[in-house]
Amino acid sequence: MSDLLTGMPVLSLVPSHHNLTYHLIVIVIAAIAAFIPRYFPMRFFTNRKIPLWFNEWMKYVPVSLFTALVVKSIFMSKTYAFVPFGHVSQILAAVIVMIVAYFTRSMAVSVIGGLAAVWLISLVI
């Protein structure tokens, strides 16, 4: 398998210490991990009547999930320890993003503004 792949011109494009086979395996594994939770619950529920309480519950899932994800990237260290002021520039930039999003309600402006803010603040701090 690896002999076959080294003969291919694509391999010359790989710039790292990892080889192509390893990356392809990782991609397939990642795709499976992404596919299972996306497909099976949706398929299960398209055949059945969804209980009303379940729908009402799902209404609050996005806001809870996004908050949890933001908290993880701003207030948690890589080893999952709570660091309230570990990323000061990101905390300040997050406040700016929220203000920008609140007033402009534009996704593109918020994201680009956030990137600019975190870059500028990290230059100062």
């Binding site: 991990a33 209404k59 996005p62």
Partner: protein, 310 residues
């Protein structure tokens, strides 16, 4: 509106849907480029980057995949981390599934593989507010966003070797995106409260589980609390929408009358007009059917008579 007609005089559906997904596509490009740069520094070339963006198609998962590859994490832990991160799609998918009940299994498969947070948000909003929104339009939104995401990823993969950017800054693109989506989702006091509850729970469960599983637990509990509170308020109060916790938050005047707000108002007026027209028609029909019923009864009686005569 005049401009939209100029660009799209025949009202082609794919162009209309493109208009709906344009803000999403445009904001995907910088984030996609950022993600492409990260994947490049994790050792993937632009073709592999393209492959990941099509097969995984999830901002969060790809950012985390890049950092795991840089840490030389074992494949088993890559799988578990991504699986728990993507578990949220189970919730998103089941909340959209009620709109997919008339679709074929193949369509559901096609739809679910290219669903992610942002196009879910767009589609959920459209399904909830636009009665003409079809699953096919929703799939089109997903494919447009996939196109711009994959394009951004490839550009990032190509320029990754040329430019040197602080990866911590690039990583913030995803956080900014989530923050934007929180701001858009928080519409009343209760959703603000749930967001805060979720933040506290996330800290607790992330430090307890030491894995992204903490995010799933925090999400499930916080959203359940939201559901319980809303349920209780709706049962106890005579005017649940006027209760303090369900009241809408103040939004700035400049943004209050967004296009979607205006469309919502138009739609409400339309629905009202339709209801009135329907009611009128119904009344007329009722009058007619009454007449018709008495007519047919008369006919029946006559036919009975005639058959009796025979």
């Amino acid at each position: 509106m005049a401009k939209a007609q100029q660009i799209n005089p025949e009202g082609a559906r794919w162009l209309q849907v493109l208009g709906v997904s344009m803000p999403l596509c445009l904001s995907y490009v910088p984030i996609g480029v950022a993600c492409g740069i990260l994947l490049h520094s994790a050792g993937m070339n632009f073709l592999l980057t393209f492959l990941v963006s099509v097969m995984v198609f999830s901002g969060g998962a790809q950012f985390i995949l890049a950092s795991l590859l840089m840490l030389d994490a074992p494949i088993s832990s890559i799988f578990m981390t991504l699986f728990f991160l993507e578990l949220r799609y189970a919730l998103l998918g089941s909340s959209l599934s009620k709109y997919m009940q008339n679709e074929s299994q193949r369509f559901v498969w096609l739809f679910s593989v290219s669903m992610n947070d942002e196009n879910y948000a767009v589609n959920y909003l459209k399904f909830a507010t636009d009665k003409n929104w079809t699953p096919k339009d929703a799939l089109l939104v997903e494919h447009y966003s996939l196109l711009s995401w994959a394009g951004g990823n490839m550009v990032g993969g190509l320029i990754g070797s040329a430019v040197h950017i602080d990866l911590e800054i690039v990583d913030f693109a995803l956080t900014a995106l989530f923050l934007y989506m929180i701001v858009m989702q928080v519409r009343n006091h209760l959703s603000l409260l749930i967001s805060l509850v979720s933040a506290v729970l996330a800290v607790i469960f992330l430090s307890l589980t030491k894995s992204t599983l903490g995010i799933i637990i925090a999400t499930l509990i916080a959203s359940f609390i939201g559901f319980m509170i809303e349920n209780t308020v709706r049962q106890r109060s005579d005017h649940p929408d006027d209760a303090w916790i369900m009241r809408k938050l103040f939004r700035p005047a400049s943004s209050r009358d967004t296009i979607s707000d205006r469309q919502e108002k138009d739609r409400e007026a339309e629905v009202e007009a339709e209801l009135k027209a329907e009611l009128k028609e119904k009344l007329q029909n009722d009058a007619k059917t009454d007449e018709a019923a008495s007519d047919s009864a008369a006919v029946k009686q006559e036919s009975k008579k005639s058959s009796g005569d025979k």
